[in-house]
């Protein structure tokens, strides 16, 4: 009997002793993640917060570029799970992409405000330059809200109740205040001046736009600011995937007259092309447009010449784009001639053959316009159309064409359900009546290798230049 009792005791003791630490409920229950209170007041916290803002910009631009480029004449969404409604400008408040973009813009703004109100003031290493950057991001979020939406609330902090929606003008004016605050903290920064110039331009404030454009060029004539992606840790560039790293699902095709600028982004290993969200070219474009508004074509020519000089100094990317799939309905060889519309002349050199070795594509800015084209300008409206073509080419895949076309997204369904201040007019998109839904349509005659685009949108913009939604200085 003793043997059994001993055995039992040994068994029980061995089992329970070997496992008893497992039965301590308090063991291993700490949250391994980071809390906001752990960060506030710690040295270097603002630097990481600003990196967070940069990362948020990558997310914002992933959402923004998809919608705005598909929703313009730049790209057609051939067969992807990217948004399909924007191609036909069928932009509704129930569109989840609209909701998501509004959320990301709000996230950029509210997290910037946390940085300004809580993180930077408590950071012993915090600097004025960092504070200026935080103002810049908050302003940028408000500027995007003003450019892209019929109205958006600008709730200050994440956990507060939603605010009253602001009109584009209100949002742009709010953005001005933040950019001015940034400029006040760092008066030599070309980017803040350029942001101010862009915002004044959007508001139609020609004098201030010209002032800030000139100041921006003076501060840094080659200035660029990028949104970077992280191919290793994410976010990846969704748009680079759509343009370059094409698979079964990602396939955006450019308007044939812009083929030579595609793909603006490419991927090599874990290196992904950045998106240029600010560049000195914009200052020249603003100055040229202002002169055309003054009907001073020679002065405009000077600015366009300066612009072309700058564009021609910009770097190019050379890489293999052989995996590009242009199906049979789209031009794919260099012999193809493209007309901007049935009444425009056929132009050569706009389509690249991607199967003949590496291609060279503008990394920052590219244009089909050459100096002789500029020199030949005498007519205000012809010059204005060329200027808008240059805007389209230089800003391709940067989310600007959608704004130039005067299209605005509505407030989303979720916002309308949760924010009592949203009215029935807020949930309607705004598309100028002169903007056709088949902007990226064209015919391609494979026997003659001629492409004729259905609508020359730059000509249409010029024809409707006095409409409040477009061409701000007219």
């Amino acid at each position: 009997m003793k043997l059994y009792i001993k055995s039992i005791l040994v068994c029980a003791a061995v089992v329970f002793i070997s496992a008893c630490d497992e039965f301590d409920p308090k063991k291993g229950i700490e949250n391994p993640n980071l809390l906001l209170e752990n960060v506030i007041g710690s040295p270097g916290s603002t630097a990481s917060w600003i990196v967070g803002q940069e990362r948020e910009m990558a997310i914002v631009y992933n959402r923004l570029l998809e919608l705005t480029e598909i929703g313009s004449d730049n790209y057609e969404n051939v067969q992807t799970f990217f948004n399909q409604q924007f191609d036909a400008l069928n932009i509704t408040f129930q569109d989840q992409n609209v909701d998501n973009l509004a959320f990301r813009i709000a996230d950029l703004r509210t997290s910037g405000n946390i940085g300004l109100q809580q993180v930077q003031p408590a950071d012993p290493d915090g600097t004025d330059a960092q504070r200026a950057e935080l103002f810049f991001y908050v302003g940028w979020a408000k500027m995007l809200a003003g450019e892209l939406f019929v109205a958006l609330p600008d709730t200050e902090l994440p956990d507060s109740e939603p605010a009253t929606p602001k009109t584009p003008t209100e949002n742009l004016n709010a953005a001005l205040a933040d950019f001015q605050a940034a400029e006040a903290l760092d008066g030599t920064h070309a980017g803040y001046k350029l942001a101010l110039a862009r915002t004044y331009y959007n508001l139609g404030d020609q004098a201030n736009a010209v002032l800030k454009a000139n100041e921006a060029i003076a501060a840094d004539p080659n200035y660029t600011r990028t949104v970077e992606f992280d191919g290793t840790n994410g976010p990846d560039s969704d748009f680079a995937d759509a343009l370059f790293d094409r698979g079964n699902f990602d396939d955006l095709q450019p308007l044939p007259r812009l083929d030579f600028l595609d793909p603006k982004y490419f991927v090599e290993g874990d290196t992904e092309s950045p998106v240029y969200i600010q560049k000195a070219e914009e200052a020249h474009l603003i100055l040229a447009e202002a002169e055309l508004a003054n009907n001073d074509v020679p002065a405009a020519r000077t600015h366009l010449t300066n612009l072309l000089s700058l564009v021609n100094t910009r770097a190019m990317n050379t890489f293999s784009d052989a995996v590009e799939g242009r199906d049979g309905s789209r031009p794919a060889t260099a012999v193809v001639m493209v007309a901007a519309s049935a009444s425009d002349p056929l132009r050569a050199g706009l389509v690249i053959d991607r199967q003949l070795g590496d291609v060279t594509v503008a990394r920052i800015s590219g244009t089909s316009i050459v100096q002789t084209d500029i020199d030949a300008l005498t007519d205000q409206l012809v010059a204005l159309e060329m200027l808008y073509l240059m805007r389209q080419e230089i800003f391709i895949a940067e989310g600007r064409r959608f704004v130039d076309l005067g299209i605005k997204m509505p407030i989303s369904e979720n916002e309308s359900l949760l924010n009592p201040a949203v009215t029935s007019t807020h949930i309607l998109s705004s598309v100028p009546s002169f903007v056709p839904t088949d902007m990226d349509a064209f015919t391609f005659d494979t026997s003659t290798n001629e492409v004729v685009i259905l609508h020359n949108m730059n000509a249409i913009l010029v024809a409707n230049r006095t409409d409040a939604a477009v061409v701000p200085f007219f």
């Binding site: 009997m1 059994y4 055995s7 068994c11 089992v15 070997s18 496992a19 497992e22 039965f23 409920p25 308090k26 063991k27 291993g28 229950i29 993640n33 980071l34 809390l35 906001l36 960060v39 916290s45 990481s48 917060w49 990196v51 967070g52 940069e54 990362r55 051939v78 067969q79 799970f81 399909q84 409604q85 036909a88 069928n90 989840q96 992409n97 909701d99 709000a106 996230d107 509210t110 997290s111 946390i114 993180v119 600008d154 994440p158 956990d159 939603p162 929606p165 992280d230 290793t232 840790n233 994410g234 698979g247 079964n248 290993g269 874990d270 995996v323 799939g325 199906d327 359900l417 949760l418």
Partner: protein, 992 residues
């Protein structure tokens, strides 16, 4: 001199000793502490097992044979000494042997037969003939406090025994139970190895969490993750599951307690039900060696393809399956054992897939003295399988044929993406491409799993017993995708000559679940009243630690992550401890009326230091009316009738730390990026499910017909919704106790014994489960999606079922032009209105035939393949010609199809070799031969396989960046993955 030398020598020794410890032993122990702890536990557990086996008591042995009314030996009959937990089961011929004392009474029980009690007296042989089939007298394992007579249960409980499983040559628990649980639906998400399944019994009770039941093996809770882990290889929507390697080779009995009223005593996380697996601990008697071998052919099904001939020719082959299992079973009156080892290899019906499995295990039982019994079991399983990219992956090349993506834009040298137009030469190109890709694909999933349980049962008094149990389940999985430049070039993803795009994506997951339990059972009786009191406590901890390494510019042919330009590391942890105590009182009156009252009080660390306490009550009543004297007039027709009603509560906890406000801290281009993350919800608590069920178990015509009927209603209060905030607030969605979900339904299960006795036997089972699911309240939140796509996805909205499909519903005019689009329309729900199973058992002499299948009706799903074909100009005729230029966002509704189906899962014909024949051979005691066809017939209403779901569950909480696992999935997106293949398997079993 000598002293000096000695001291120098000592100093030398000491120095080296210290150095040795400091530089070798200590780091070693530190590095391997965790592994060491684990090894220690394995070691000690094994010692316990062997110690227990060696302790033997000499008592008197009683043996005998149990036969049915036809004189056939009945295997698996429970033989228990009354008032103790000492017992055994009969062997394949119905023989048993058990150690007893003179005053003991033996209880013989077996599914479907009337239990018998026999006093041993001075006999050494007790032979029994069992008959009088009645379900109510069946003994059911409910896991806590020992076995319970079914007559006492106030809830409906399903039971499957080893005999029921014998005819199914499958080694996955969920597939094994498909068609066998009358009130539970099990859908296989993919036919590729290791895939997840959808298990639903009583609706969908959560809009956050997965629906699979918790699983216990011999009282030890095991890893039941049935969604993709937090960190995983993306293979195009197909997910892998921990259910793929739950050991099934030693199952004696499976009990399924459906969620709600039956699972209250299991507390938190039991809302989806509890699956209790009991392993075979062996039978007393001379050692019996068994050998089972299976050889089979595997053919991929082309039922659902648009170009079946092309795909069959280009991708499919006849796979080969072989399996060998050796077992030994035996013991004496005090110690019994049952050990096995199995090797199984399946090289699959498609090049690139395949699965190899090695498993060993054992169960053993020892009577340590007349009052103390030890039961233990262990299993070690290694499962290795390989996968191909499929479904939502740009690198899939097989389903791409149906989807019209091969040859698009002239890719792969094909003239068109329309397979119907391909020339013989082009078909050859496709075949070669698929073969090349399969050869170059290197996606592997290797799992090692060690599961172990120990239980001591002590009979303190005749009517008082104590059970103490402990055990653990350790599971390690490495899921890896090695992508070489050669592979990417073959995929036309990169240009030929590129050498910098190779990568490894390696995901390691360590799971350790530890369970400890104590339960006390006390029986008493006063006059006509009986009292059964069960009380106890249970503790379990799960530690789930994962890491992911992704390399870039991996050197070609290298398989270590070290040989790469850059390595990125991510980790994920989900660890939680849960403990609680329970008390249950069952009061019986005249052995006819049973009142059942109980509760569980639970604590859980899902909220960190703020350990909350949850109270789950239950109450039930069962009444065996057929035992009443007044019933005797009815008993000719209705020989048994039990009415029952039960109410119970159970819970569902969110993932750990979901309550906390957190920062998202991520690496970004070599720097640390802080961003606001989950905003936190300080009042977040578990979901609470309240279930009321009532019904009856009835036997007609001497139990030739048995009917179980249950009407149930279940409400999930405080349902956790990850609903969005107003987007302008920039606040990430946060799981909150916002909603209320209601499920209700009727469960009907029937069995018919059409022929009984004689050479012929024939019986059939059929079940039907009618269900309704509705989000009763959304707590004022807008609807939110839980998977799918932007244009068409499963959403959660007040007034509609969980996961209803939302998308645009188009209307076409007479010319076929799009006349109207209803945006965000309700396009139907993936949860069926009715589902059930059917089976047939027929016997003639030594032949038996088993046929089983299951069905569903009233659900819908999305034909995603057709959406992709639409993109590529290969659409079918569901879209009028005039609308073919419309956006697929506007056309979403046309791709939603009814997913009714009836699938025959299993047809097995078995021949048991006669004893006369075997006696001529001599050394073989028993033999059988079976032929099985798995998945032979599919009848379905949709164009795609209604069972598949390529989309799987989300890897992040809806609307957030929070990585998680075990999320709810409703399936419904059928595309681009393999259907369960047809398998034709021959099985030979021998007993020596």
């Amino acid at each position: 001199m000598q002293a000096s030398n000695r001291s120098r020598f000592e100093a030398f020794l000491f120095y080296n000793f210290e150095t040795f410890f400091k530089h070798i032993i200590t780091p070693f122990l530190t590095m391997f502490n965790e592994q060491f702890m684990l090894m220690k536990k394995i070691f000690f557990s094994l010692i316990v097992s062997f110690l227990a086996i060696t302790v033997v008591l000499a008592q008197r042995t009683v043996s005998g044979q149990i036969t049915d009314e036809n004189g056939e030996g009945l295997p698996g009959v429970n033989v228990v000494i009354k008032g103790t937990s000492t017992g055994t089961t009969t062997d394949i011929d119905g023989n048993y042997s058990i150690s007893t004392n003179e005053g003991d009474v033996l209880i013989f029980s077996f599914v479907g037969f009337e239990s018998q009690e026999v006093a041993v007296g001075s006999r050494s042989v007790v032979d029994i003939t069992m008959g009088g089939v009645t379900e109510l007298l069946e003994v059911v394992v409910t896991g806590l406090g020992g076995d319970v007579d079914r007559r006492k249960l106030a809830t409906s409980v399903d039971r499957v025994t080893a005999q029921d499983l014998a005819a199914t040559p499958i080694v996955r628990i969920d597939q094994l139970l498909q068609s066998k649980l009358p009130n539970t639906q099990i859908l296989q998400s993919t036919g590729a190895p290791g895939g997840t399944s959808i298990i639903r019994s009583r609706g969908v009770n959560s809009a956050l969490l997965g629906q699979q039941p918790v699983i216990y093996i011999d009282g030890v809770r095991v890893d039941n993750l049935n969604t993709s882990p937090g960190l995983s290889v993306a293979t195009g929507g197909q997910q892998t599951s921990a259910l793929a390697d739950i050991p099934v080779d030693q199952i004696k009995d499976i009990t399924f307690l459906k969620g709600g009223a039956a699972t209250t005593l299991y507390g938190s996380d039991a809302a989806n039900g509890v699956l209790l697996i009991t392993t075979d601990k062996g039978n007393a008697g001379a050692a019996s060696v068994s050998y089972e071998t299976q050889l089979g052919a595997i053919r991929g099904t082309t039922d659902y393809f648009i170009y079946p001939d092309i795909i069959k020719d280009a991708a499919f082959r006849t796979g080969f399956l072989n399996s060998h299992k050796v077992g030994i079973n035996g013991g004496n009156e005090n110690v019994t054992y049952n050990f096995f080892a199995r090797y199984r290899e399946d090289n699959s019906f498609v090049e690139g897939l395949g699965e190899t499995r090695y498993s060993i295990g054992g169960g053993y039982q020892a009577s340590l003295n007349e009052n103390l019994v030890y039961k233990g079991s262990f299993s070690y399983l290694r499962n290795e399988f390989s996968l191909l990219q499929n479904a939502n992956s740009s690198f899939d090349r097989i389903f791409a044929i149906d989807q019209g993506s091969l040859g698009r834009g002239g890719s792969f040298g094909l003239s068109t993406n329309d397979p119907a137009q391909w020339t013989a030469e082009e078909r050859g190109i496709v075949k070669q491409l698929i073969s090349d890709i399969a050869r170059l694909t290197d996606i592997t999933n290797n799992t090692s799993r060690f599961t172990n349980s120990h239980k001591f049962s002590y009979s303190v008094l005749d009517n008082l017993s104590v059970d103490v149990g402990i055990g653990f389940d350790y599971r390690f999985t490495r899921f890896e995708n090695i992508q070489t430049n050669e592979y990417l070039v073959a995929q036309e993803n990169i240009s030929a000559g590129t050498t910098t795009e190779g990568s490894i994506n390696r995901n390691d997951r360590n799971f350790l679940g530890t369970t400890g339990s104590l339960s006390i059972k006390y029986d008493a009786s006063i006059n006509d009243f009986t009292f059964t009191t069960i009380g106890g406590g249970q503790f379990f901890r799960t530690r789930d630690v994962q890491s992911q390494i992704i390399t870039t510019n991996q050197a070609e042919t290298s398989t270590t992550v070290n040989i790469s330009a850059e390595q990125t590391v991510t980790d994920f942890e989900s660890s939680v401890a849960n403990w609680g105590f329970y008390l249950q009182e069952t009061i019986g009156f005249k052995d006819r009326i049973f009142l059942d009252l109980g509760f569980r009080n639970d604590k859980n660390t899902a909220f960190g230091d703020d350990i909350i306490s949850e109270f789950y009550p239950k109450a039930g009543l069962s009444y065996v009316l057929s035992d009443e004297p007044y019933w005797s007039g009815l008993s000719e027709v209705v020989n048994s009738f039990k009415a029952r009603v039960s109410y119970g509560e159970s819970g569902n906890f969110p993932p750990p730390f979901t309550r906390d406000a957190q920062l998202n801290a991520n690496p970004f281009n070599g720097q640390l990026a802080f961003q606001p993350g989950q905003p936190g919800e300080s009042t977040l608590g578990p979901e609470r499910q309240k279930t009321l069920e009532y019904g009856a178990d009835m036997g007609f015509l001497d139990s030739r017909i048995n009917v179980g009927l249950t009407i149930w209603e279940s409400t999930t209060e405080d349902a956790i919704f990850t609903a969005p905030f107003a987007p302008s607030t920039g606040t990430e969605a946060q799981p909150r106790n916002l909603g209320e979900i209601k499920n209700n339904g009727v469960e009907v299960s029937t069995s018919f014994e059409i022929l009984r006795g004689g050479d012929w036997t024939l019986s059939a089972n059929a079940s039907a489960n009618f269900q309704k699911n509705e989000v009763v309240s959304g707590g004022g939140s807008p609807e939110f999606n839980i998977g799918g796509f932007t244009f068409l996805g499963p959403f959660v909205k007040e007034g509609l079922p969980v996961g209803y499909l939302r998308g645009s519903q188009p209307t076409f005019d007479e010319s076929g032009a799009l006349s109207n689009v209803e945006r965000n329309a309700d396009l139907g729900a993936p949860i069926p209105d009715v589902f059930g199973s059917l089976s047939l058992n027929a016997g003639w002499k030594n032949f038996s035939l088993y046929i089983a299948g299951d069905y569903q009706k009233g659900a819908v799903g999305v034909n995603t393949d057709e959406v992709l074909r639409f993109f590529r100009g290969l659409d079918d005729d569901r879209i009028p010609e005039a609308s073919k230029g419309e956006s697929f966002f506007d056309l979403a509704g046309v791709w939603v199809e009814d997913t009714d189906f009836l699938k025959v899962r299993n047809i097995t014909l078995t021949y048991n070799v006669t004893r006369e024949f075997l006696s001529n051979i001599g050394f073989i005691d028993g033999a059988s031969v079976s032929f099985t066809a798995l998945n032979p017939f599919n009848f379905y209403s949709s164009v795609f396989d209604p069972e598949l779901t390529g989309a799987g569950a989300r890897g992040t909480l809806p609307g957030t960046n929070t990585t998680t696992q075990n999320n709810v999935t409703v399936g419904a997106f059928g595309y681009g993955t393999f259907s369960a293949p047809r398998q034709f398997i021959g099985t030979l079993r021998f007993n020596f």
